[in-house]
């Protein structure tokens, strides 16, 4: 178990991203899909931080800071939408919300 290199972190980030995407594909509940989206965002953050560390630049971390903020916003708005969707359709299943307009 030597010191992890950039490659290790990147593979880890890629796998995390893939799992998140797989979750979006496999699960049918919008709420869980949302959680999986968060996983994907975090995967991206991981690779950004890793790059930042291995290239000795702080800029990448600033970027992650922004991503976290925007993710928080997104969760807030997304969940609000989810709640109003649920009110209207009484479901959070993705298959049952297929029309793009109401």
């Amino acid at each position: 178990m030597g010191t992890p290199t950039l490659g290790h972190y990147l593979v880890l980030s890629g796998l995390l991203f893939a799992i998140g995407l797989a979750g979006v594909i496999a699960r049918r509940d919008l709420l869980i899909m949302y959680m999986c989206l968060e996983i994907m965002l975090n995967a991206a953050n991981l690779s950004l931080v890793a790059f930042s560390r291995f290239t000795q630049q702080v800029r990448g971390e600033v970027f992650v800071f922004f991503v976290i903020t925007v993710a928080a916003v997104e969760v807030a708005v997304g969940l609000a939408l989810l709640v109003s969707l649920y009110r209207m359709k009484r479901t959070t299943k993705a298959e049952e919300i297929t029309a793009l307009k109401f």
Partner: protein
């Protein structure tokens, strides 16, 4: 000053068109003033008081310079005088003839437009300028023939006239283009035309230019519009379709004679076209019952004479006859118009009879015109026809005999209509109640009758003005033959129609005008209609449906297939997206 010739009638036309259409009195006044101004200007020009102005560049681009200018040589001055004079008289005559028509404001505006265009042709300094006004007389003729546009026959006749002229103009334009390409200019420069001398293009240019004349001067085979054009008001028939516009073709031939004379082949085609037209039209005229149609065919036949003269290199003779014919044919039409006016537009000579007694002035003047047209010695027509027969006899003997025979026919059909319409007993009630026309209509008749008598004499000076007769020996055979012909025609007419109250002879070929209309209906029109319909079908089905909609069908089929995938299911989209992203990773970062 000379610009007044164009500006006066143009501004009158514009004024009437924009502001005065609804005000007949004002538009009459404006239009007549304009025509008087042009006549006075033409007079000033003829007397040498007014000089030709400098030309204006209408188009000035590398390789092409088109000018609007004025040629005021003897040819143009004579023609100007004749046209503006007759036009003024007809404007005056129209005051009476159109007095009851509600649309006469428009009528006078269109007359002014015609006058301006006609003058443009006469003074043109180059081919393009002539073509411009050439087309414009076509337009005004279209408008005036279709003046009573509610009448289906008038509307159709107007369209027919424009189209027949267009076909001729097509050739004319090609001729102009060929001339320009060979000689490098569009101006009437005899020196420039030298590039054509001996060139194989010379006869082609000549004949293409002649096409314009065939259309405008109603030569066979584009003559079919002229008889129909009689649907227009009679002053229009007198001015445009007898005295001036139709003669413009002949004037044009004289103007461009420097091109024609380079090619004897073209000249003989022209001569033959004229001769045949003269003969055929005269034959048809013998069997028509509509007084205006007889005169129309007679016009055609006389135009054939003039074209024949040009074809025999007799431009002076042609112009001489053009002028005298302008006088007496306008007179005849106005006389006929006076009769129609009195008879409430009854045009069939067999439903007239004895009109002469009711309308003595009209009868006398019409008689003078008929005599002049028939070529009775002492009147204008005799002299000018004589000139034409002389040049024909010199260069085309066969055509001379045809022309002489035509002269006999002319005398015959003029005798026929005069006898049937004016003498004998009234055959209908309308005639019994007819009254002589008002003085505004009578005065122009008297003036023109005077001209029809004196215009031919040497002292009147038309031939001298044009620079004298063509050189060559005058043969005695000509007056002998033509006199014989006239007498034969008169006698035959008198015998045949002296006491007739209905048509004694019937020749269907002549009555049906040699079946020209039928032939055109069956060939040109049908052919064009059918091919148009076929092409429209192809356009709609092959191009519009198979190609365009077929393409659309393939696309929409693809759309239907893809729609199965795009069901709005978020997770499917995500999966396809993931597949794509993975694929891209392998593609882009291939090691």
């Amino acid at each position: 000053m000379a610009w007044l010739l164009l500006l006066a009638p143009l501004s009158s036309a514009f004024l009437v068109w924009v502001a005065l259409r609804r005000h007949p009195r004002a538009s009459q006044a404006v239009s007549i003033t304009a025509s008087l101004i042009t006549f006075l200007t033409a007079l000033g020009i003829a007397l040498g008081r007014i000089e030709a102005p400098a030309s204006l560049a209408w188009i000035d681009l590398p390789g092409l310079r088109v000018e609007i200018g004025m040629t005021l040589d003897a040819l143009a001055r004579l023609m100007l005088l004749m046209v503006t004079g007759v036009a003024f008289l007809i404007h005056v005559y129209s005051l009476g003839y159109m007095a009851e028509d509600p649309g006469r404001g428009r009528f006078f505006g269109e007359l002014s437009l015609f006058l301006a265009s006609m003058i443009g042709i006469i003074v043109a300094t180059n081919f393009v300028m002539m073509y411009i006004f050439w087309e414009l007389v076509g337009v005004s003729s279209y408008l005036l023939i279709g003046f009573w546009f509610e009448k289906n026959s008038a509307a159709d006749a107007a369209r027919k006239a424009f189209l027949a002229n267009r076909v001729g103009d097509f050739g004319f334009l090609l001729g102009i283009l060929t001339f320009w390409a060979t000689c490098g200019t569009v101006a009437f420069h005899p020196e420039a035309a030298r590039a054509l001398a001996g060139n194989w293009l010379a006869p082609i240019v000549g004949l293409l230019l002649f096409c314009g004349c065939v259309g405008k001067s109603a030569q066979i085979p584009l003559h079919v519009w002229l008889p129909d054009a009689m649907e227009g008001p009679t002053p229009v028939s007198a001015l445009i379709h007898a005295a001036t516009m139709v003669a413009a073709g002949v004037y044009m031939l004289c103007r461009i004679f420097f091109v024609l004379e380079l090619s004897p082949e073209a000249l003989s085609v022209i001569a033959w076209t004229g001769g045949i037209t003269a003969l055929v039209a005269a034959l048809i005229a013998t069997q028509q019952n509509d007084i205006k149609r007889v005169l129309a065919y007679s016009t055609m036949s006389q135009l054939g004479y003039m074209v024949l003269a040009v074809g025999c290199s007799g431009t002076t003779a042609a112009m001489f006859h053009l002028t005298t014919h302008g006088f007496f044919k306008a007179l005849l039409f106005m006389g006929a118009g006076s009769v129609l006016h009195a008879l409430h537009h009854e045009q069939d000579i067999w439903r007239m009879g004895g009109v002469g007694r009711k309308m003595p002035l009209t009868f006398v003047t019409f008689g003078i015109g008929a005599a002049a047209l028939s070529g009775i010695p002492g009147l204008a027509g005799f002299f000018s026809k004589e000139e034409i027969l002389q040049v024909a006899a010199r260069s085309q003997p066969v055509l001379f005999w045809m022309a002489a025979f035509t002269a006999a026919l002319t005398a015959f059909y003029m005798t026929r209509i005069t006898l049937v319409a004016f003498l004998g007993q009234p055959r209908t009630d309308v005639v019994r109640h007819a009254k002589e026309s008002p003085l505004v209509m009578g005065l122009p008749l008297i003036v023109l009758a005077g001209l029809a008598i004196v215009a031919g004499y040497p002292f009147f000076g038309i031939v001298r003005y044009l620079g004298g007769q063509e050189a060559g020996e005058n043969s005695l055979l000509v007056p002998a033959a033509s006199l014989t012909a006239v007498i034969l025609g008169l006698v035959a007419g008198a015998i045949g129609y002296g006491r007739a109250s209905r048509e004694p002879i019937a020749i269907p070929l002549f009555q049906r005008k040699f079946y020209f209309d039928e032939i055109y209906d069956w060939t040109v029109l049908k052919l064009q209609e059918e091919s148009a319909r076929l092409l429209s079908w192809i356009d709609q089905w092959i191009i519009g449906f198979v190609l365009v909609r077929g393409g659309a069908f393939v696309v929409s089929l693809g759309g239907e297939v893809l729609r199965l995938v795009q069901a709005g299911n978020l997770r499917e989209y995500a999966f396809v997206f993931a597949l794509g992203a993975g694929g891209l990773l392998f593609l882009l970062f291939g090691r």
